[in-house]
Amino acid sequence: MPLRRHIANAHADQCLFDRAGQVRVAALASATSLHGSLGDLRGRSVLIATASQLTSALALIELDGVARRLTILPPDVDRAHLPALIADADIDAVVFDGGAPQEGFSHVPVRIACASSLVPLDDGRFDEVRTEWVLLTSGTTGVPKMVVHNLAGLTAAIAPQPQTGPETESMVWATFYDIRRYGGLQIFLRAILGGASLVLSSAEEPVADHLLRLSRHGVTHLSGTPSHWRRALMSPEIGKIAPRYVRLSGEIADQAVLDHLRTAFPHAAIGHAYASTEAGVGFAVNDGLAGFPAAYLEGVRGGVEMKVVDGSLRIRSPGAASHYAGAHGGELLDADGFVDTGDMVERRGDRYFFAGRKGGIINIGGLKVHPEEVEAVINRHPQVRMSLVRPKRSPLTGSIVIADVVLKSSCKRAEDEPTIKNDILQLCRDALPRHKVPAAISFVPALAVASTGKLARRG
């Protein structure tokens, strides 16, 4: 069922909020953000290339079931890749906002403006089509891969919820993600299908202002990456929000960040979910512990099957994408229909723990180190907010492990730093073999978080 039909009975309070304003979802039943041009997009392969997340959200609701294919352009994609993306996805229409399309779209035949100020919709009845949804991966180099989903798959992990009742009417979702990435899109769909309002993020907004805005809207359900959450926990305004549900995804949730969130939100349900653009949502873990129970690999859970091949997690799921569009993808599914996630896992006792990305490995004289496993140990130190472990060239061993560490704001005394440094090294020596212990630790004021919400790791 297309998104537009999901909102046919939206309650009057369900809104999409952004920094600048708000749109009542119910208004879309008889009005349009596409200013009279909805019919022109029928059956087309449409690129959603708006500057604002709000107009992207409106266009998605309106065009699902109308367009043949919706390709969602995240804000940080290198414009040099546009011609390849437009060719590979057979794009013949673009939706933009802010008065004029950005550069790079002059050859697209149909260009339609979208605005959060709605105009009356003459006739919103169309023959419904099954729309393909295309999401872009966030690889660091080259043309992003175009991952083809449909709405049924994208919503496979979302439990059906009653559209009315006091529980949903008081539910307000928000995410630190941009909704044009998989993790954020999940939250957008959760809110729309669940009849809940959604507070959108803004890349330019300071964290404190964002938290105050979430507080004003009474956010009850909040999602982000562990890096998003660590950054939020550094803000004094974190105390202004009181979500009932806290969700982490997109990066490894280590025990330290789960514990910090437990302390900050003693009454919230805290869950970390595993998902990827290609594999969809694999599972959610709600016991407050890092990693996931080994039992998750047995049988089929919520339609999802998982196995570990050469240390890497593979997932077969109704939520997985079907293929890559165009020439830059390769095979998305293996012969048995599993997606190789490239996320390395390690079994310890009756639980699996994420060890890092396949290929993200640091080689120390032939011994392998996943940066994430060292970061998880460093992050256990009570004064540490976040850390980044990276290789440094070494004449003897090829590489060596070094760490950049952000301390909590409560311990900004320079004279304590040598002691903390020694404590962190001792913690690492107790928990890790010696080639994984950082050779040097630098304290830094902040670590870069990419627009995907993940810690920026250099090539």
Binding site: I364, G365, P395, L396, I400, R434, A439, A440
Partner: protein
């Protein structure tokens, strides 16, 4: 502390952390016979960069890695800023 003393101090520190015993150090002793293995020496180089602000071995592609303790100390003395001399 002189550069040489800083280096010896850090060698002892790394040896302690890695559970190694240092041989009596003199200039002609081969670095790899000092008691530190290659990982230990790699860690030592990273620590000394932290202390002395210079890594004479990765700065240049052609640099020969020193064979003896004396060569090792000399590489730092040659690379160090004048303030350290």
């Amino acid at each position: 502390m002189s550069i040489k003393l800083t280096i010896i101090d850090q060698m002892q520190q790394v040896a302690r952390e890695h559970g190694k015993t240092l041989a009596p150090l003199d200039d002609d002793l081969a670095l790899l016979d000092s008691g530190l293995d290659s990982l230990g020496i790699a860690v030592l180089v990273a620590r000394l960069e932290d202390r002395l602000g210079v890594d004479p071995f990765t700065a240049s592609e052609e640099m020969q890695f020193p064979v003896t303790v004396g060569d090792f100390v000399k590489a730092y003395e040659n690379a160090a800023a004048p303030a350290h001399r």
